[in-house]
């Protein structure tokens, strides 16, 4: 059975492959398949004697965030180089695609989410199929995918956190920044946390954010902006409710950086936004900037334009900070302060009441050239009712996938998973959790190059694969000859309810419609069961 797409979508693609595929600029219109890009070259469509014996290269991409979509996008463009057609199945743990574009990008950054339009076109390509609500490592194993597909690309990101480990980090009110971000963005795994965030916000007028990356700045900005400034965005209603009630008393967000501003990893756009918030002051301490300007930091400032511009902006903000009243609502940057411990609330001992920080100094590690933070023994207590640890993410190990413990990534060489021919990785799972959406483009191109190289040089033996797509479907949904999914092991043989692209489109349409009634771009569904019932609803197709 072919996956039938909605008629509007299908029509668009059928009429004009190219115009519908702005993003897929060089996608060859099948089956004539000589792309514009290669029109002048000698590369021809494959014959039966080619590398692949005339059958398509069957690829499974695990994860539908930017890493997965960019690999798909670029791989689709390489048919001429591969000498065969490519069919790609994208598997995602959730019924909805886009990964961190949906659950990471802040609701007040709709322009960043525009990349979804590009991904939409990739997903609508007739060669691509979406398998939502399929959990890699649970519903289907690495070995099973390797068996079904010629190529498996792991792009499942970094679902774990680097956690705060200081004494008191287990107190109520201490959260990983991911939990907060995922919650306001409506990730089903975090939808239940409203009450916890409400309690924490109600217990004090101050929030401490530990870490100085863009995630930390996002958290600070969302908190400081408050419900009113966010109500026209796609932030979830449950988050708006908490921000407008328990969060209404918020007066200060303190951002704590262990090292100096030159070592901070936030970027200019996010910093500038914090300095321009309506009714929210931005505070920076001149003396802390000065402390950060060690000879090694100054060297760095000289050569790195982004750092230099950030230094200039922070200096300007620090100049104006003295005149801000102590009562004003503010986001305050603190640099060269390390978290020593989290202290309990005086009246509620199991809840956070303050953080104790230690003044740090920078010390140059001659061996690596990096500057380390060294405690000076001078401590300070900052009262707060909520602590968000934003010190980084971690790619989690998955059974059957070689794991590089030291770097917390998939063990790989330039995207080739170590010791598993035909298995590749891209994005955060490959290089660790850093970089912007665009970084995945570079990543994707290099892994696609590796795949093309391996296929063309016949390093990658294309075995006798059955129809992979149908095989996966059978395995998950229990087709005629299909084995039961792993989820049902133990004799229950429970089927996985796969959400295809049409299913996601139903969810999408409903979310947009719900949003429209409230003047929002969308109101996300935050429960998987709800999504599944909408995805499988019949009778609403045009």
């Amino acid at each position: 059975m072919r996956w039938v797409r909605s008629s509007a979508r299908l029509g668009l693609r059928a009429v004009s492959y190219k115009s519908a595929a702005q993003g897929l600029k060089h996608t060859p219109p099948l089956p004539t398949c000589v792309s514009a890009r290669t029109a002048g070259t000698a590369i021809q469509r494959p014959t039966a004697t080619d590398v692949s014996a005339g059958r398509p290269l069957r690829v499974c991409v695990v994860g539908s965030g930017p890493a997965g979509f960019y690999v798909t996008k670029y791989l689709l463009k390489e048919e001429a180089e591969l000498g065969c057609e490519v069919v790609i199945d994208i598997v995602d743990r959730l019924p909805t695609p886009y990964g961190l574009v949906r659950f990471g990008v802040a609701p007040d950054h709709p322009e960043v989410k525009a990349v979804q339009n590009d991904f939409d076109q990739v997903a609508s390509d007739a060669r691509v199929s979406f398998f939502g609500n399929v959990c890699f490592g649970k519903d289907v194993s690495a070995a099973q995918l390797s068996e079904l597909y010629d190529v498996v690309v792991l792009a499942y990101g970094a679902a774990g956190d680097r956690e705060l480990t200081v004494p008191g980090a287990d107190l109520e009110g201490v959260f990983a920044a991911r939990a907060f971000v995922s919650w306001y963005n409506g990730h089903p795994d975090f939808a239940h946390m409203s009450e916890e965030f409400a309690k924490a916000l109600a217990s004090s007028d101050t929030v401490a954010v530990v870490g100085v990356g863009n995630v930390a700045l996002d958290c600070a900005r969302i908190l400081a902006k408050g419900a009113n400034a966010l109500k026209g965005s796609d932030i979830c209603d449950h988050a708006l409710d908490v921000l407008s009630s328990a969060g209404a008393g918020l007066r200060r967000v303190v951002i704590l950086g262990r090292r100096g501003h030159v070592q901070a990893s936030f970027t200019m756009k996010e910093l500038r936004e914090l300095t321009k918030l309506d009714g929210v002051a931005c505070l920076v301490r001149q003396e802390e900037l000065e402390l950060s300007r060690t000879p090694a930091s100054l060297d760095e400032l000289k050569t790195a334009r982004p750092k230099n511009r950030i230094d200039a902006l922070l200096t300007k903000v620090a100049d104006g900070s003295d005149s801000v009243s102590a009562e004003a609502k503010a986001v305050e940057f603190r640099f060269l302060v390390g978290l020593s411990d989290v202290l309990p609330n005086n009246s509620i001992p199991n809840r956070v009441g303050a953080v104790r920080v230690e003044r740090n100094q920078l010390e140059l590690d001659e061996a690596t050239g990096a500057q380390r933070a060294i405690g000076s023994g001078v401590k300070e207590v900052i009262e707060c009712g909520m602590v968000l640890g934003s010190i980084g993410y971690r790619c989690l190990p998955v059974h059957g996938v070689p794991y590089d413990e030291r770097n917390s990534i998939i063990a790989n060489e330039r995207g080739r998973v170590q010791g598993v021919p035909g298995m590749y990785c891209s994005g955060w799972a490959r290089r660790g959790p850093s970089g912007i959406i665009g970084t995945n483009i570079t990543d994707a191109r290099s892994v696609v190059a590796a795949i093309v190289e391996d296929v063309s040089s016949k390093q990658l033996a294309l075995g006798d694969k059955a129809e992979s797509r149908q095989g996966l479907r059978n395995m998950l949904m229990g087709g005629q000859d299909g084995a039961p999914g792993l989820r049902g092991s133990g004799g229950t043989k429970k089927k996985v309810q796969v959400v295809d692209w049409d299913g996601y489109q139903r969810i999408n349409r409903d979310e947009v419609a719900r949003g429209a009634m409230k003047g929002k771009p969308r109101e996300k569904f935050v429960h998987v069961e709800e999504m599944l019932s909408i995805a499988t609803a019949v009778g609403d197709e045009e």
Partner: protein, 177 residues
């Protein structure tokens, strides 16, 4: 395979210097007409890198009747491919690139929210453009291979001043340890 061979470079050494001031609004043109005609009539050569087979493209070039509203430009892709285009006045370089199948991303769709449409311009053309907004500089900070004459393609509108411009699409580079 050549298409896929990309040189890895680092932008660690990239320095930034403020260049010029935004000189000049678009001049109305007559003088450029002959240059345009000459360029259009030219059989251009494609500069290639060692491994790239010579390829020739000529896209979006229409009859002389339409030329009044069009400006000739050339995109130079990172693999050495040259793509000559006729760009519509008022369109952005990002739009022109996409209309002509130039390998230029534009992840945010031209909303100044990413740096994937980074292009490098010749200084003489760069100097003719209006000054960058600070938001554009903020995004350029994240671009690979930043140069003194880097811009974001989505922020540059085609004017007659840009007749004959060679637009370089920088190579990707990777900072992977």
């Amino acid at each position: 395979m050549a298409l896929l061979v990309r040189r890895l470079s680092s932008n660690a050494g990239a320095r930034w210097r403020k260049v010029g001031s935004g000189k000049g609004l678009p001049r109305s043109v007559g003088a450029d007409r002959s240059a345009a005609a000459r360029l259009a009539a030219e059989t251009y050569t494609v500069r290639t890198m060692a491994l790239v087979p010579p390829r020739t493209y000529r896209r979006g070039i229409s009859s002389t009747a339409a030329r009044k509203d069009k400006v000739n430009m050339t995109f130079l892709e990172d693999d050495g491919t040259e793509i000559k285009v006729e760009a519509e006045l008022g369109a952005t370089l990002l739009e022109v690139a996409h209309e002509n199948d130039v390998e230029l991303e534009g992840a945010c769709g031209g909303d100044l929210a990413c740096s994937t449409c980074h292009v490098v311009l010749p200084k003489e053309y760069y100097d003719k453009l209006d000054e960058k907004e600070e938001e554009e500089d903020d995004m350029l900070d994240l671009a690979w291979g930043l140069t003194d004459t880097s811009r974001l393609g989505c922020q540059i509108k085609v004017t007659r001043d840009l007749e004959g411009m060679l637009i370089k699409v920088p190579e990707d580079s990777m900072d992977m340890s």
